[in-house]
């Protein structure tokens, strides 16, 4: 089956899958998609692979990590933090 032969419903489901997986669709639309999926193995298969893609992104850990922060860089940040605190009237600077 080529793209132009694909059913309209499959295409509609295809375009809404992310919102469906994100639970961002109204209940009636979810129900419609579930009804379609129940009777359309190719769409289930595709939805499953997209769900796994999202899971993979969510468990993604960086392959590249920054170098440990240098003493000077840390001091610069701490200084900015202290200044921010001392500019406030309600809390006296500490640390």
């Amino acid at each position: 089956m080529q793209f132009d032969e694909r059913t309209e419903k499959c295409q509609e489901v295809f375009s809404l899958l992310s919102e469906y997986l994100n639970l961002e669709l109204p209940p009636e639309a979810c129900q419609e998609i579930e009804t379609h999926l129940a009777g359309c193995p190719p769409c289930i298969e595709f939805a499953d692979s997209l769900r796994k893609t999202v899971e993979l992104c969510r468990s993604y850990k960086p392959t590249e990590l920054p170098e440990p922060i240098g003493k000077q860089a840390r001091e610069q940040l701490l200084e900015a933090y202290r200044k921010m605190l001392s500019a406030r009237k309600d809390i006296s600077p500490s640390g």
Binding site: M1, Q2, F3, R6, Q11, F14, S15, L17, S18, E19, N22, E24, P41, P42, E45, F46, D48, S49, L50, K52, T53, V54, E55, L56, C57, R58, S59, Y60, K61, P62, T63, E64, L65, P66, E67, I69, A73, R74, Q76, L77, L78, A80, Y81, K83, M84, L85, A87, R88, I91, S92, P93, S94, G95
Partner: protein, 206 residues
């Protein structure tokens, strides 16, 4: 680190308790580095963006009214710091992705349409986390055009909400949703190509 822990650290820092400082720095430094490294592809730039972002964060911490918003707030500052670098991404040039680009081909088997995709259903979850797979994911995300990449990084990797992602990137919720879907489809397609090419899985139409 869970989002609740981040919020707690932000609360402590706002309250003037510096004990949270190092944990906060270590945690967000790695996050900002990852985001900007994947956005611009330059290690040096990513390190600088992380430092500049954290500097801005500490300088303006008292402007964060609600600690619950710490993650999107930090990422908004990081996004701006990334833009200031003005260096072009080493990755994909800007372009639009259309849904049609990602429609998998189908054929007929015994009267039933079959998708020409790898059979993901038999892929155990632990296999998804293997380092080789991670590199494929790195590439798949890196090769997305920039405005799709930023959305998938914030929405799926950093797990910001649609609204928060829109606030970070100055986009409406509808645009975030559209770009996220296309970005996911792009990443899915790359992973699928990898799985099929390496015959790690039998193609479901074979």
């Amino acid at each position: 680190m869970e989002r609740e822990t981040e919020i707690e650290l932000a609360r402590q820092l706002i309250a003037g308790e510096p004990e949270a400082f190092d944990r906060f720095v270590e945690h967000f430094r790695a996050k900002i580095f990852q985001y900007s490294w994947l956005m611009c592809g330059h290690r040096e730039d990513a390190e600088e963006v992380a430092q500049e972002t954290l500097f801005n964060v500490f300088q303006n911490f008292d402007r964060l009214r609600e600690p619950e918003h710490i993650r999107p707030w930090v990422f908004r500052i990081a996004k701006n710091a990334c833009l200031m670098k003005r260096r072009k991404s080493v990755f994909a040039p800007p372009q639009e992705l259309s849904l049609e680009d990602f429609l998998p081909a189908m054929d007929h088997h015994g009267g039933h349409p079959k998708l020409q995709i790898a059979d993901w259903s038999h892929l155990p979850d632990h296999q998804l986390l293997q380092s080789e797979m991670k590199q494929v994911l790195d590439r798949a995300i890196g090769e997305l055009p920039e405005h799709y990449r930023s959305v998938i990084l914030l929405r799926d990797v950093e797990e910001l909400s649609t609204l928060e992602t829109g606030q970070v990137l100055d986009l409406t919720a509808d645009v975030v949703k559209t770009r996220l879907h296309r970005a996911r489809l792009g990443v899915r397609q790359k992973l699928d190509e990898y799985l099929r090419a390496d015959s790690r899985l039998p193609s479901s139409h074979a």
